[in-house]
């Protein structure tokens, strides 16, 4: 797994999630990417019954790694959040430990995945309890393991797909030449799941028209 960055698509007024996904598919197709099957993510939030001695944690199952379950444990400081890679029988173990960890919420992401050279692009709709929550775009670049090195590539591709400016620097948890690990991906999804819908309203910075035209001509 190379560097993976998860972006959240901000809905414009009156736009439904399905319309957003269709728009995203159109923009991704314009880059020259081709469809390569479907993907499916499932995340569960487990709350500790005794918060003094135990911690809350999230699990993430993905169709990309079908026999693996990623478990991310909460900590008071974000940098110390730990991620564990487990085999799939972990879920049956957690059922036996339900007195200590209660499953509270389940999030699902489904969508079509696209391939562009060594990029994997996975736009999907986040659903929880049967209702759509938000739209995410996951971009994975398989050859690189350091976000500091390959961030210009993400910035250029992400700016076109999301139609807005991307930060010049990678997310904080990937900075300082940290080698990418699956925990970083889980962390990004957890942040999106726990994010309220209103907090991202001011985040969107539309892309300049000249940049869009330049990118369109190149692609």
């Amino acid at each position: 797994m190379g560097v993976t960055v998860v972006f959240q698509w901000e809905l414009v007024d009156g736009q439904t999630h399905q319309q957003a996904i269709q728009e995203l598919h159109g923009r991704i197709n314009n880059t020259g990417a081709v469809q390569e099957g479907k993907f499916y993510y499932e995340s569960k939030f487990y709350q500790a019954s005794d918060s003094a001695t135990t911690r809350d944690f999230y699990t993430l199952k993905t169709s990309e790694y079908p026999v693996t379950v990623f478990a991310r444990v909460d900590d008071s400081t974000k940098d110390k959040n730990s991620c564990i890679q487990c085999d799939s029988p972990m879920e049956s173990l957690l059922v036996k430990l339900r007195e200590f960890f209660t499953p509270k919420r389940t999030f699902e992401i489904r969508g079509t995945r696209f391939k562009l050279a060594d990029f994997w692009i996975r736009p999907g709709i986040v659903t929880s309890s049967g209702s759509n929550k938000c739209v995410t775009i996951e971009i994975e670049y398989t050859p690189s393991y350091f976000a500091d090195d390959c961030w210009p590539l993400f910035s250029e591709l992400g700016s076109y797909i999301l139609n807005r400016q991307i930060d010049d620097k990678p997310p904080t948890l990937m900075e300082n030449n940290k080698q990418f690990n699956p925990g970083m991906m889980v962390q990004q999804y957890v942040e999106i799941f726990s994010r309220k819908a209103t907090t991202q309203a001011n985040f969107q910075q539309p892309m300049k028209q000249e940049q869009i035209q330049a990118y369109n001509t190149q692609m």
């Binding site: 880059t31 020259g32 990417a33 562009l116 050279a117 060594d118 990029f119 398989t142 050859p143 690189s144 393991y145 350091f146 090195d149 390959c150 961030w151 210009p152 590539l153 250029e156 591709l157 190149q218």
Partner: protein, 327 residues
């Protein structure tokens, strides 16, 4: 055409001069033949006449002497007449070559002179050709190479620089020392990490990790590069588990493998020694440390069709997309 008419008129004049003397000469020949004929008939008949009568011996001898004197006079007259016939009135016989024949008809004296000098030149040329054939036979017999003959094209910069003899290193210890000497040149490796694995015979595997970007596996025979495979950073990380039979699963690395093989050919077929071409290749490979964040020098973009600038110029080491590279 005018030259031909003039030549014909000149020949006519010359023939008109020659014909009277030739006629006189023929008359002298006829007189000589007649006097010789009467002399030999007298000698054959002897002293007897046709009527059967005998002639006086003294008279017979005086008649023979008289006829001999006439014969000698006629012979002298013919000789003097023949000597008086003008010689070299006609041009010398030349080989029937078109241009040469035309030169003979030219009015200018220089052309005439040149035409007269040609026949001996032809003989010299034929002699030279025979000599060249003999020389070629000798050079072939002595295994002389074609490069020593005069028809070889010389390079524009003068004599071609010859590659020095190849250094063959058999023992692993000597190779390790030689390699360390090659790699310990300042700024040649930079932040690249090198691992060496002994394979069969004189073959070694050199794994070079370019700073957080890629792993390059080089198969060396002695110090000469045989094959290059570029893989991702975490693909075949352990040198003992490198799969040399398959290319990288990453499209970007497969492209760089193709470029590396092209650079290998470029440096190998240059006038550099094996060591120099090896160092150049390492310098070229080192330029890939900026693979993921360098912009293309031509289009000033990072991505084209999802690929970063995977091409590096062989001389300047500057990044280009494959479609943007300069020729």
């Amino acid at each position: 055409m005018a030259n031909i008419v003039q030549a014909h008129s000149r020949l006519k004049l010359e023939l008109e001069e020659l014909v009277p003397s030739l006629v006189e000469s023929l008359q002298k020949v006829q007189l000589l033949r007649h006097s010789a004929d009467s002399l030999f008939s007298n000698l054959s008949e002897g002293c007897l006449l046709k009527d059967g009568e005998e002639i006086d011996k003294d008279k017979y001898i005086s008649i023979v002497q008289e006829k001999l004197q006439i014969l000698v006079q006629n012979f002298n007259a013919l000789q003097t007449k023949i000597q008086k016939i003008p010689k070299n009135r006609f041009p010398p016989i030349v080989q029937p070559l078109g241009p040469l024949g035309m030169m003979m008809l030219d009015q200018s004296e220089a052309a005439k002179k040149a035409a007269l000098e040609y026949p001996p030149v032809f003989h010299q040329f034929n002699a030279f050709k025979d000599f060249h054939k003999i020389l070629e036979t000798y050079t072939y017999r002595n295994s002389r190479k074609r490069s020593t003959t005069s028809h070889q094209m010389q390079p524009a910069g003068g004599m071609r620089r010859k590659r020095p003899p190849r250094v063959i290193i058999d023992s692993p210890a000597a190779f390790k020392q030689h390699l360390s000497q090659l790699l310990h040149i300042p700024n040649i490796l930079g932040d690249m990490k090198v691992q060496v694995r002994e394979m069969f015979g004189n073959t070694r595997l050199l794994s070079i990790s370019v700073r957080r970007t890629l792993n390059c596996h080089i198969i060396l025979r002695h110090i000469q590069i045989e094959r290059v495979i570029v893989k991702g950073l975490l693909e075949d990380e352990n040198i003992d588990e490198v799969d040399l039979s398959e290319n990288s699963s990453l499209d970007t690395m497969t492209r760089i493998t193709e470029h590396a093989q092209a650079s290998l050919i470029f440096y190998s077929f240059s006038s550099l020694t094996d060591e120099e071409s090896f160092r150049k290749f390492l310098q070229w490979l080192r330029s890939y440390k900026t693979l993921f964040h360098a912009k293309c020098m031509r289009c000033k973009r990072h991505l084209v069709e999802g690929y970063p600038p995977t091409w590096r110029d062989f001389v300047t080491f500057q990044p280009y997309h494959f479609g943007c590279r300069s020729y």
